[in-house]
Amino acid sequence: MIDGPVIQTRSLTKSYGRLDAVRDLDLSVGANRITAFLGRNGAGKSTTIKLLLGMIHATSGDASVLGARIGESKESREMLRRVAYVAENKPLYPYMTVAQMIRFVSSFYPDWRPDAAERLMKEYELPADRKVKSLSKGMRTKLALLLAFARRPDLLILDEPSEGLDPVGIEHLLQHLVAQSADGISVFFSSHQIAEVERIADHVCILDKGRLLVDASLDDLRESYRRIDLVFPSIPLEHEFRMAGVERIETSGRQIRIFSSRNSRTVVQRAYELNAVSVEVTPVALRDIFLETVREN
């Protein structure tokens, strides 16, 4: 069990000329839970991860992973020993066989679990002596995941892990992530597949255009975001509902639709005060929270 955040960034910024790929990021990822990093394509998720792992150098700000400051140093190298990472393109050396890949990667990590590796080899039906370049895409993905799952790191980072997997593969992936979490491993994965995130994430961070827009537990989001549909006897005044927590107001004649991230009770109270004829409050699915958040940005 780890104390303190497994990932912490402070005003982390990465600029390419005038374009900010990541802007003033203050991210804090808690230990012992599954955190999802949601965002559109090009939102800056991969850039953030590469900054954390030292593959890209930050323009300004700083960050630490497992307590170690990022950057080329002995400290950050030792940190990498406790981190398992699967990049978006599931990289493998094409000239190595499956067995050679496993021997190679396992030699760097004392947390390697040979029994888990063997079990996964069987489950994924990976041929030990086949070269990576002759493997199908699905098998390559599975091998790349095996190299991370057959370990017991403190932190598991995955960039779009379900990319390239069929529905059965995705199901197995989610089960493995849940199992890793049950083993005490902190899981941080980026995705633009809302459905996966909604099922297993404890915490959600939404990134758009390099900025962190939402950073909350999924349960908090579920409990506080509401869609409130109101009908009034006469055309209502929109400004009556411009209050804290109201993200968007849509009107159509005597109908008002309010999208609130919190404080829905106050909105409903105001509606009753203004003699609303109909008050309907419905929860909001993560997909809609995401779309609204990103749209507003």
């Binding site: 792992l53 150098h57 940190m79 760097f108």
Partner: protein
Amino acid sequence: MLWYKAWLETRGRFLVSLCAISIIIAFFVHHAEHVITPEPKRETYFLLFFVHHYLAGLWILSVVLLGMGGLLRERAIGTSSLTLALPVSRTRVVGVQIALGILEAILLAVLPWSVILFTTDLAGRTFPASQAVFYILLLISGGLVYFALAVLISSLIEGEYTAPAVVYGLVVLSGIIFSSVDSLRPYADLWRFMGGDNYFNHVTYLLSGPFPWFGALTALVVAALMLLASVAVIQKREF
């Protein structure tokens, strides 16, 4: 296991180079039959000198190939995210690649000469082994400059064909410069240095005189500086 990986990456190029060099050796062995006799003979020494030049040329081509690849190439094919996530410094990754490349380069110089010595031994060696050592040391100390150049260029240029093309272009360019700029000859002329032209005695057809330690050291320092530069380049790079 970094050494193992580097070996897997370069073994194809190494073996191809070895094959090509074997052809030169086969040529030597074929002609040696006529020329090797128990008594020392000038024709033997001239054959050695001649073969060495071809060997040197092929060796330069090979070590340039061996210097290719590296982390920049890995970025192009997508595996840098795997290598750089490993708990090892970039310096170590590049260092192992360089070290293995140098070892392979040395082998590519030593192996053919060993075969030559062995073959002439069969016929009763007629020239001292120290000649072989002289040739080998000249080749390696001068030639590692080209290996280092290849490593440096492949840390700067990403293309699979562009990088070697640039290096080979520079090799040819250097040859042209050496042969046309008179003030460079004979001592700053790297090719003459590697080929042994500067030390070739026209009477005995042997390499004679003291070994040019200063020249060798200078060339090695130039090579070392280029290698250090390539490490620095990789350190700063974004992957």
